[in-house]
Amino acid sequence: MDSCRWEQIQTLFHDAIERPEHEREAFLECACNADQELMAEVRLMLQADDRGTSPLDRGLPDLAHQMLAACLETDPAREFGAYRLTRLLGEGGMGVVWLAERRDAGNLVAIKFLPHAGLSPARRDRFGREIKTLGKLKHPYIARLYDAGALEDGTPWFAMEYVEGIPLGDYLRQRQLPVEARLKLFRAICTAVQYAHGQEIIHRDLKPSNILVEYDGTPRLLDFGIARELHLPDDSPELTRPALRFLSRDYAAPEWVRDGTVGFQTDVYSLGVILNEMVIQPRPADLDILCAKAMHQDPDERYASVEALIRDVDHYLKNEPLDARPDSWTYSFGKFVTRNRWTVAAASVTFTFIAGLSIFFTLRLAAERDRANHETAIATATNRFLADDLLARTDPFRGDNARESFVSVVKEASPHIDQQFRSEPLVAARLHQTLARSFDNRSDFPQARREYDRAGQLFLQAEGPLSEDAIIIHLARAQMEARSYEKGAMALAKSLLAGAGSTIPRIRSPSPDVEIWLLTTRGVIALVANDARSANQNFAAALSKAQSSSVDENRRRHIKQWLAFSYIRLGMGAKAETLFRELIDEYSHAAGSESPDTLKARINLAQSLYGQGKYTEAIEEDNRIYPVLVRKLGEDHETTLTLLGSRAASEGSLGMYDDAIRDDLTVYRIAVKKQGPVSLFSIGMLSDAAVSQCQAGRYAEGEANARKAHQEAIQAYGPRAGLTGGTSYALAICLIGRNRLDEASELLSSIDIQATIQMSGDPRVAASIALARGEIAARRGNYALAKHYADLAAPDFDRPGAAPTDVRSLAKLRNVIEEHRVAK
């Protein structure tokens, strides 16, 4: 047949089918012109066309079925070599697996064949590589290779351990395992993958159907069909990319699908997806974090190794903080006490709030800030307050067993760490680091030091003298020392900082993380050392670095928070306010408008408003936060009380005495009930209430309260204590109102101004005392002296943003002096 002939045939065929059937034969007879062969050909075509039975009318699936599936039909008696095939276990594009019995030994094995190996060299290569890979792996959770060879027709095969189990997905469906059991199973799977990684083998096709679970719950990894050995050049990434395989893309890491990039993180991703399916919603938030970290789209954000993933699974199982959020100390802190998460989170709130500025126990001396001494005062106050008073005395855990569980968990955990993780020093180091952070956060400095030291040692041993982890530990320790405000601690902090600063340049390319730590530590130390400007510069640099590198969001926000504090110290309340508002937006977006972080930022915002003299706004903000705190923590929680005290300070500054008194007394009553009459809260609030009462002219109540607070302060803390100073001032104000000037004057003289500033965090103590003295002098008729005191107080109270009450008092004093001058 040639083209011409074919055209002839087709033309005839088309002409014929257009005619009625009974006319076709006659047409052919005529048209073919006695060419019998031609006629037969067309006749045959017409028949086929009529019947519609051309093989081409059958679909491809049918053919494929007959051609390919048929070869899988079983022939149970089939034997080859030492094996007798028993039944088909599974099939797929990459081969078929049979259950077989060894004829000599009688044991069962699984045999995988690669049918039609010759069709593609690539397939054959891959099969050979799977055999090599399996041969290297000897692990209880990985099916072992026994034997390999080829049939006479060249079909390659290998025999491996037969696993009598069911796929992971089915197993989980059949057994209603609790979360903990699921996590343990997952952990076992991870150890097998980790082992393979240790052999430099990446599985690349981890998914539930490739993991069988035996009746006793032992998992077994199968199918290293596309596993890759790291030290071998990957001959063709295309060959094994999921796009080219029939891997479920659900389990394949995005970067691998995208551009063929393969690393340990490839398997970490798949494990993350598997875990995500093993522990379905609803589940604890920590598991969300864990899954999210493992399944992160960016491989650099994922757990760097299966070891790290296992570590966090262990943390979860032991109720310890996850490494997944290593930079969020609030989180580390809270995680220790899951039974009372909110209490602990709130303790963190209090902590930051205090570390930030905290003048809730204000002596209501004034509300604006001083440029020069203010920073010093607040820094000092903050630290002493934190170390000596607040954390020592106000106990956010009181009234429940959370403190016990926190302490006992931590103390029990520490000694076991080294033993349990002898072979994994990095795990042990991280654990010590976490413990250190937790102790640090609750100002248990001796314990924290021990843990930091141990973590540092382990990192140095494991990673060498230039270990970045060890440097970070040093820096964290330096920050803690600075904040501890213990004797000699500042010098130690500075020497730790200097040590880290001189080690970092020796690292060839230090990570942004370690540089950010260095800057932040410099900032913290500067802040504590009252160098707000330097602190501000360092925090700003740290923040800018954190923004340009891929640092954890929480860490970045944490730095931002520090930066905001430094602005407050610099007297740039507006800048602090902006930053806090940004933080509120960010935290709300990330964790909801009522998450501990968000609330923390909102409390800080209210404080920055107060610091700027924006009392009305501060009160409004307090009013918004208060119901949330009551709902989340209860109205008698320290953080709630702190907020109320803070609101009272703003109210007092605006002369809203009734409101201020109500709030102060509320806090006082609860504080007495919770902590007894002799506590910082109780005495401080009673004293604050007394000032408001006397300023409102309610001298009898005010004097009684002030006197009570004063006596208790002297008894508990001594005459020179800052707290005592505050109560002396309160009592003096009330006595002046009742014209008992000598006693008032004596009280004012007894105040240790520096200690009181430290205690209250308010730099206007001296100015307020001067104003009180001025009033005494005026009442005594000594107007020259009164003027002298008025002038002393003026710089603090003439400034814009000064508390209206103070402005009024000063104006009143000046009026009296002026009236006298005119009268004279």
């Binding site: 053919l63 051609m67 797929g92 069709l119 593609s120 397939r123 796009a243």
Partner: protein, 190 residues
Amino acid sequence: MTAPQKVLVDESGRIAEDQRALDDLFSLTYEELRRLASLVRRNSNRASINSTALVHEVWIKLKDSPRLVLTSIPHFKAIAARAMRQVLVDEARRKIARKRGGDGDASFVPLDESNEGTVRCDAELVALDEALNELARVSPRQAHMVESRFFGGFSVAETAQAVGMSESAVERDWRAAKAWLAGRIRPRYQ
């Protein structure tokens, strides 16, 4: 057996330059075909499995591949169709050869060879392949059309586009080729 090279000879351009990529594509198609077969065997909904869906799925999996610089879906489909034809026909030939000479012990495939349908199918496929080759000699366009439609799941519209003809012309060509091929295959084995 150098099946991929056969594909290579038939296709031109960048794809043909990359033997390895072609091998990938080939084994991919092959594996997909097996998967399809096993789906059919498991009594899945047969109607839902057709060569169009199959080739489309393979395309979806391949289209992001940078090394397979596939310029168009039709181009890819043409390769896939050829690969599928190759796979099926090779398999049919193997079966026939084994039936003739093999003792059965040396090769893997444990078929129940008495299955008449299968036997007929083997022979038909081989006959189809031969007939298609013959058709390609007198009308490469129609052979390509058959290959695309039957093995590649091209629709009439796609086929028309691929060969640059109207749809009605394609229908006409297809009907003639189909009838002719049927006539070539059936008489010998029926």
